[in-house]
Subunit: 365 residues, 4 copies
């Protein structure tokens, strides 16, 4: 079905396969009057682009975005913003073998089951390349959020067994290392671990954390459209994510209410919380505090090491997935987590404008 | 906004507050021809009902469901099924105090911020009582799934620091203890832990796991409507859930692809997987294997122990939340997790019918 | 599928059959802070109620609405408003015959084809009685619109060949005659025509016009969600409607742009239109002028006169639909047209709040 | 808001302005396995293309469509089909004047009111050029419908006061004249009328009728998602449409049930209707008969004749809309009506597959 759209008011629709002519996104419902050009998008695209470090594939992907509609005299017009990324350097000559079998950990088998066949070139629609479209849309969402004083920032907290030390948390460090880790020492250890893993023909997983600052209270709805429920969907819709947490996440299982409940206190004349175990969301609605989420990513499924699988003739075979693949998905996914978070927060901000009758009356007077 | 609906084809809309006249659910899009009566719903409602054990509140909630529409001569007609549960035993005389302050860990503050005021009686719309409506709808979904050979089964795997031993996993045991744990020994330890916690005026968290057997491959869509993304939203929309995992979940972070990838093998002439780290979902689409998810629940926020908070006059005060509250949410939430999982799976089954042109042509011939 | 909901932000879901226990509506997304009680709904229900005149069936339908949720201390809380109407006086003993054949002009045959069987008592879900739920929801929408200075008013302009004379248009007269015609003379002629038609065992059709005053410019979207497109769907979703027009409607076919284009002029310092052939909508967006639409209703299909049809055994038979039926649907449908119009306008008002970035920034500052 | 999408299962999203770089459409939810190439789209695009006759603007619009995604080895893959049409010949140097005032009958004023400003070049997003994207998507829908034995055919029945004579209805004639009229004599009269109108610096309106043959019974839902309601929205969302009718439409007002009710009869062993006043839809659900609808189009608002209007400085001025404009919208809109009808019918076909439990069980066995 129509499963390529996300959002209710600020709604994006992505399209395109890894090795087709192009991929892109249509943003429908972007408010009018935002100054916007390709220059706002490029920095985000660059963070996702491969070849940025030795831990991302040296394949050259030209990720320059072109805006095709929805902008006039430098500003959004309120009509759909169509953005396109051409697949200039994709070649499909390497994929004849992959066409014949099901790579473990990939969507090859499930696509065949669902659709009867698949575009097997580079993963087709289920390629991580699809996230380029999300990042382009996320850049627009981030620009709007910035004008409302809201920032969205993601970074790596764990790679394999190596985690950052929150006592050494250094925001500046995030962009200083290839792994986007806010802890220099952890980044060095993780880097060494990834080299070893890569040499062993294997790959690693990791955790990305994302924080939203400046979000007002009141975002999200009490039942199915809880802010955390929508964030969970947003993040779990990123390929390779196998777990999502809000605030203290699964750690709450080991806590008690006397510790886990965040006491309300007065700060500078405003209601605030003494702690933030909740991650900024209570009853599905933002409480004005920092919103915190985490996503657990599985190791890149494509590895050189020999794996057992089945081919389309239903014969058991051994394979080795050739080509140069990222030994870890996480660093390039950091900006994708940021994008999906920003899209969710922005949509909830727009929806929230109609929650009180007084506000509606004020608006139309 | 309209945040009380869930699902696309099989779509439910819940309504009602904890201490209003009634609560209920409208199921829209239920296929015609299903034999259905209140008797199909009651067993599910009973599992959620309070007062079943010493770990659930002795408040008497009359959870009998009445079907008001959508059934004729014992069968669903294809039109909306409206179900109602009257709040016969709710009393609101205890809530005058709660009206004046914000309970930590509850949605009191965020409701006031979003809507300007709130129905403070028993949590109002954000009360766990809302889940009664989900369970009623989930019972219908489960009945349909059963006719397709699909079972959905949830149980408790952890309470506080006590977890089941999967080597002792005993399916039969689930309904033998008040905590719905498939491990008798763990259940006994957890029971003792909860008594201690309760005596200390505190509460505990836990983990619920849910498995789906018999689901065909092909459910879910490749991008935003991934099966796991929708399950994540479904489960995170349950109050008190702070984390959701699919398959091995966050454990994949500590694994490598050589271990985490599930090898495809032939079993009884069919493609199958040698292991199931993926939890039955690859690239957002079910692979025919058992679907596995887990949810982490926070400790019940209402506790007798003194807590710090703020009242509506913005004064810092100390409170103790009176009344008898469950020292843990988990056991009563087991059937809620089952319900939300069943609703998600059923909706994806209906949507999936249109994925191949050949099937559509066959259907209309 | 889930076809019983209408609206995006202010979203209603109706349920119930003509002869089930009850019918009702859930309003999800109603803004918080609206004073609301059953007293606001009753006047609207009374206008739809049968037995108000000799042209509506003398069957007693008890249409008193009970609000079950979403109101606290007399005000809407922002959570779903569930309203129920019990079918106290329905009896199903008359319907054994109807069960066996397909009434011409009714949905009997199409229900059987779609769902395999049907609740044949009084039309079941396709009974006009379903509109009681729409009217209840429409009353809430109208109350909100009134606070924004917007009025919605429908009336009958034609019955059979008898049409009102716009030169004699008398707003006060609408509620003075049973047919809701704003022209006393036309109402008298139509009344006589209906008596004759009824005596002949036949029934008549008619036209309802609806005007919205005070709606701001800017409502509706440029492409698929045009305000007129949504109004057309809203109105065509009322049973028996076979045509919908905006402004001059089909008359524009006989006009030329030099006459049909409405000149912009300045009035009291504001941009206005010299005429209103457009009916207040240009390019799918409201222009600040009066919004005008019309709906053409077919004659009540249930008539005493002998008709040819087919029974479930596929035998051609002659039937006469017994019971006392309205010789015309129009008068009772006037308030339904009002309701559907109000729901559409309100939803577009809420959606429109996010069209300009400046407004969003102002809102959150 | 996100108003550029249409459909639920087979969902299209259009984007692009008249004078931007390009326009296009993303089809999401197209079933896998359909053979598809640009050659399937071109014939439909050509029918909408300007310059086909003296009654359409001689502006050269290059309407060649390029498919960018969703096709592999000549077949749809089930993933989004992105189609683009470049605006190669658009020039914007003529629009400086239009930027300063509001053209009567156009969306200039309402866009400014809604969004604060507008892309004034050639109508921007509200240009008829947007329908090129609809036609491209409609061509895909038509190809699928054809495989199910369903045809969708639109034609002109009236231009100004000249209507076809149904007794002379000649299907072959539709493509023999520039006006797509199925009556040669009427086409000649209309052609003369249009020449006169054009010479007078004015423009004309008309009526398009559309018939669907081969559609099975059971399409559409009983309440808000009635097949006719969705068709009404689909058609009214085409710019310049001011009225929509199903079957006999507004004529039913002048009929009685004894004539207007279609008797059920047996034909070749199947239930059929002796007449088809209903236009193939009863109670919102298709009855297996031919589906018939009609749309009334207003005269092209752009005319050479002097018109009164207001400029952005709120001064009343006289204008003459320069450039060569179609003296009538209708002929080029015929294929747009076909497209929107096909999209609606196809979506309802896909949705209908889940209406009966038996069918679902059969599907998954």
């Amino acid at each position: 079905m129509a499963g390529s759209s996300f959002g209710t008011i600020f709604r994006i629709t992505t399209w395109g396969e890894s090795h087709g002519k192009a991929l892109g996104v249509v943003i429908d419902g972007c408010p009018a009057g935002l100054e916007l050009s390709e220059n706002d998008i490029t920095p985000y695209m660059n963070r996702r682009k491969p070849g940025q470090s030795r831990f991302s594939t040296p394949r050259k992907e030209d990720d320059s975005v072109e805006i095709l509609s929805g902008i006039f005299e430098g500003k959004t017009t309120g009509t759909p913003i169509s953005m396109i990324v051409y697949n200039t350097s994709q070649k499909s000559h390497d994929y004849s073998e992959i066409a014949t079998y099901y790579r473990p950990g990939h969507a090859d088998y499930t696509f065949d089951e669902k659709y009867g066949f698949r575009d097997y070139r580079g993963g087709g629609r289920s390629s991580g390349r699809e996230t380029a479209a999300r990042v382009a849309a996320g850049a627009v969402a981030c620009k709007i959020l910035a004008q409302l004083g809201i920032t969205v920032s993601a970074y790596t907290t764990s790679i394999g067994d190596i985690s950052i030390d929150y006592d050494n948390f250094d925001k500046e460090e995030i962009f200083n290392n290839n792994l986007y880790m806010p802890d220099k020492k952890a980044a060095e250890l993780a880097s060494q671990y990834l080299q070893d893993t890569s040499k062993a023909g294997d790959s690693a997983g990791g955790i990305i954390e994302c924080v939203v600052t400046g979000a007002p209270s009141g975002l999200g709805d009490p039942v199915f459209e809880k802010l955390d429920a929508n964030l969970a969907k947003a993040i779990m819709s990123i390929g390779a994510v196998k777990g999502v947490e809000i605030g203290d996440g699964f750690e709450v299982v080991h806590s008690n209410a006397s510790k886990n409940n965040d006491a309300f206190v007065m700060k500078d004349g405003h209601v605030a919380k003494a702690t933030n175990h909740a991650g900024g969301i209570l009853g599905g609605i933002s409480d004005g505090d920092m919103i915190i989420l985490r996503a657990g990513f599985k190791p890149t499924p494509s590895i050189i090491s020999t794996q057992q699988t089945v081919n389309k003739n239903h014969e058991e075979i051994d394979i080795s997935v050739k080509g140069r693949h990222d030994p870890i998905i996480v660093p390039r996914a950091v900006v994708v987590v940021e994008a999906m978070t920003a899209l969710s927060i922005l949509d909830s901000l727009l929806i929230n404008m109609t929650s009180k009758l007084d506000n509606i009356i004020k608006f139309y007077k």
